[in-house]
């Protein structure tokens, strides 16, 4: 798609290797193992950091600053996946080595570090970013230097880059099924939309509003609070006045904790479902901070919950706890981050090469039957086909899954009629 902007066009046979390359070639020839799976020249024509027995990838998340709270789980998941892949023999017979960089919750830092990973470390793929702002910051870098980014977070959609594979859900996958479910199962007629004031909640609520109105139902209020807002008594009074059937919440970060604590304190018992709270922003990770007793009874619409009972997930949860400690919880994004290395491995093996262009060409249609969330498949638009589930929050901080879409939902990052 974007081949015209590639610095390292694929398929160039590199008839005139530079000095470095010939040295590498000589070294490779000297150390050529008897069982070398595929020769270096075949699997790496674009000068990536691949040797006879290793391949370098990047991990780029915030481990300091305000986003560290959210991104820690993704880092752990990606490392676990890489370790498991290495234990199985690696990718194309090469062990994965990761270079970890810290985006420090600062978007220009993300861009700078991604440039470093692509230009200096010459990594074959990067697993990273969390907020949309950080993804938007690194996007031009990945497109200019033709890198490959595996992005784990559920997000607002309206983007499709040849250099990104989106392993989380885009907004319509997450939202439409959730709203359909409350309308069908809980006979909801009126909705109140509430979010933190930035692109993801605003886009999500736009989609939600269109969908609700298409169903002939009513949005009785829509409100946004600044990021980090900690006082929600006024909005709770508005709920009491307007009496919506459903509060559709996409509040994030520290505000989340304040919102649910104050909702509970104001006498709104979410287990009574009057009003019912449907959130798209609270994973098991966030409940750690909110406290299970404060969110008991709320519903969440996501593709993954830790309590999924399939065999893949049980093995995943067990491995995750063995690696990172027993008291850890796994949220939707953590699982999506775990898919990244596996999807990349499958695409590399299908392509028979680490070259970004070949991996990109091989990616659509890649299936993963071992995903903790079940079966996923890469769509030509670089998002994943996935199921959406509805979970009911319990006091122990876990979700009880009450519904699962029967079919995989097609990703639709540019939904017609919702913009």
């Amino acid at each position: 798609m974007a081949n015209t902007i590639n610095k390292h066009p694929a398929g160039s046979r590199s008839k005139l290797p530079g000095l470095v390359k010939s040295l590498m070639g000589a070294a490779a020839f000297a150390s050529m193992a008897l069982t070398a799976p595929a020769s270096l020249a075949e699997v790496n024509t674009t000068d990536l950091a691949v040797t006879e027995d290793t391949v370098k990838v990047g991990i780029l998340h915030s481990v300091t600053g305000t986003m560290a709270i959210s991104e820690t789980g993704s880092v752990q998941a990606e490392k676990l996946a890489i370790e498991q892949i290495n234990a199985m023999g690696g990718v194309l017979g090469r062990k994965i080595e990761y270079v970890q960089e810290d985006g420090a919750s600062d978007w220009p830092t993300f861009a700078e570090k991604s440039r470093k990973l692509l230009l200096n470390d010459k990594v074959a793929a990067v697993f990273g970013c969390w907020t949309s702002a950080s993804r938007k910051a690194v996007l031009p870098v990945f497109e200019q230097y033709n890198g490959m980014l595996y992005y784990p977070t559920f997000y607002e959609g309206l983007e499709q880059s040849p250099n990104v594979i989106y392993t989380g859900q885009e907004a319509t996958q997450q939202i439409l099924a959730g709203i359909d479910w409350v309308v069908k199962e809980k006979k909801a007629k009126t909705f109140y939309l509430l979010g933190s004031d930035y692109i993801w909640p605003r886009t999500s609520n736009k989609i939600a509003r269109k969908h609700i109105e298409k169903l002939g139902l009513k949005v009785v209020g829509e409100d946004y609070y600044p990021l980090g807002h900690t006082q929600f008594n006024s909005i709770i009074n508005k709920f009491k006045l307007k009496k919506p059937d459903v509060i559709f919440a996409s509040v994030v970060g520290g505000s989340n904790v304040a919102f649910y604590k104050q909702l509970k304190a104001a006498g709104i018992d979410m287990t009574k479902e009057k009003p019912l709270v449907l959130t798209i922003s609270v994973t098991e990770d966030e409940i750690l901070g909110i406290g299970g007793e404060n969110i008991d009874g709320a519903y969440a619409s996501m593709k993954y919950f830790q309590s999924l009972t399939n065999d893949n997930n049980q093995a995943f949860v067990k491995a995750f706890k063995e690696r990172w400690g027993d008291d850890i919880v796994i949220g939707d994004v953590t699982q999506a981050a775990y898919l990244g290395p596996w999807l990349w491995k499958a695409a590399v093996e299908a392509a028979g090469s680490f070259d970004v262009d070949k991996v990109r060409a091989a990616s659509p249609g890649i299936e993963l039957t071992t995903a903790p969330e079940g079966y996923v498949k890469v769509h030509p638009n670089h998002h994943l086909w996935s199921k959406t589930r509805i979970g009911n929050a319990k006091t122990d901080g876990q979700y009880e899954i009450v519904y699962e879409t029967p079919e995989l939902i097609e990703p639709d990052p540019f939904p017609a009629g919702y913009q």
Partner: protein
């Protein structure tokens, strides 16, 4: 927008909205009192105020863990002990910081801004290393969780009443300390004229240390109380710092009464506007209102009438 509702419904909502404003007022007072002492009385621009609050929150978290582990029968009353411990911990850290850092900077008040900002980054990283990057959940005793049902619609959260009581109690205690006690007279004289206060025999460095410690201790109590309504994480203190400075500066930095008046004005303005507008817009208008007032009255709402 009110055509669809009956008069009694509207009355109830306005009553509750008024109460929401009072809770916000109490939160602002608790946040700002400590800073009013440190910034207002001592002139130290303490950017680490939020981190002292979060220290109190973490102390509460630890206390709740200890109680649920070793004394589950006493769990209902742990919150009071946690607040006392929070006051001691934050106050002790405050006195140490004053000794190690602040006392060298009294003649350079603007430099305290940078020094305490650095301190806030250090403290955040310490919290992150000790407690982890994720937010921790503080379990509250059951009696703090519910709400009073006054009528069909009017419900008053108990933790709101608790925060209000605490705010009133601490304000009265600080007022008594500052204006009725011998120590308060010493503090005020040191603030007004440090060399002269020293000359009449006041141990100024001791007064400074205690004052700074008291301000930080109150921040710790506030942080402890805020575990009921907000999040406890390494960077949660940043959520409060802007509002805190806003309240103190708007009130007139040197006046405690001004701080309270300003907390009242800002909280009522914000909570009324939040009800009629969206939350973000209410915030924008509140800030605009504060800016305009400060343009007309740069010294803030209340100012000390002293000859300079």
């Amino acid at each position: 927008m009110f055509a669809d509702y009956s008069t009694s419904e509207l009355m109830s909502i306005f009553a509750m909205q008024g109460f929401a404003g009072l809770i916000l007022f109490s939160v602002f007072v608790l946040m700002a009192l400590g800073l009013a002492i440190i910034f207002g009385q001592m002139g130290v621009i303490n950017m680490a105020h939020g981190e002292f609050m979060i220290l109190g929150a973490y102390v509460t978290y630890l206390t709740s863990n200890v109680f649920s582990e070793y004394m589950p029968s006493m769990f209902g009353s742990y919150f009071f002990i946690a607040m006392i411990l929070a006051f001691i911990a934050a106050g002790a850290l405050g006195m140490f910081v004053e000794w190690a850092l602040i006392r060298h900077l009294y003649k350079r008040p603007l430099d305290t801004l940078l020094a305490t900002w650095g301190l806030s980054l250090i403290l955040q990283q310490i919290y992150r290393s000790v407690f982890g990057a994720r937010e921790v959940g503080v379990t509250l005793p059951d009696w703090l969780m519910g709400s009073f049902q006054l009528s069909e619609i009017v419900e008053v959260p108990i933790n709101g009443i608790f925060v209000m009581t605490l705010a009133i109690g601490i304000s009265l205690a600080v007022a008594a300390l500052m204006y009725k006690s011998r120590w308060g007279i010493q503090v005020r004289s040191v603030v007004q004229n440090r060399p002269m206060a020293g000359a009449v025999g006041i141990n100024t460095s001791k007064v400074d240390r205690l004052t700074f410690g008291l301000g930080c201790g109150i921040a710790g109590v506030a942080g402890s109380a805020f575990t009921m309504i907000g999040s406890t994480g390494p960077t949660s203190g940043q959520l409060y710092i802007v509002d805190t400075f806003l309240v103190v500066v708007f009130g007139g930095a040197a006046s405690l009464l001004g701080t309270i008046a300003s907390a009242f004005t800002i909280s009522q303005a914000q909570s009324t506007m939040e009800f009629f507008l969206s939350g973000s817009m209410a915030k924008v208008l509140t800030l605009l209102f504060v800016v305009v007032i400060l343009m007309l009255r740069p010294q803030g709402l209340f100012s000390l009438k002293v000859r300079r």
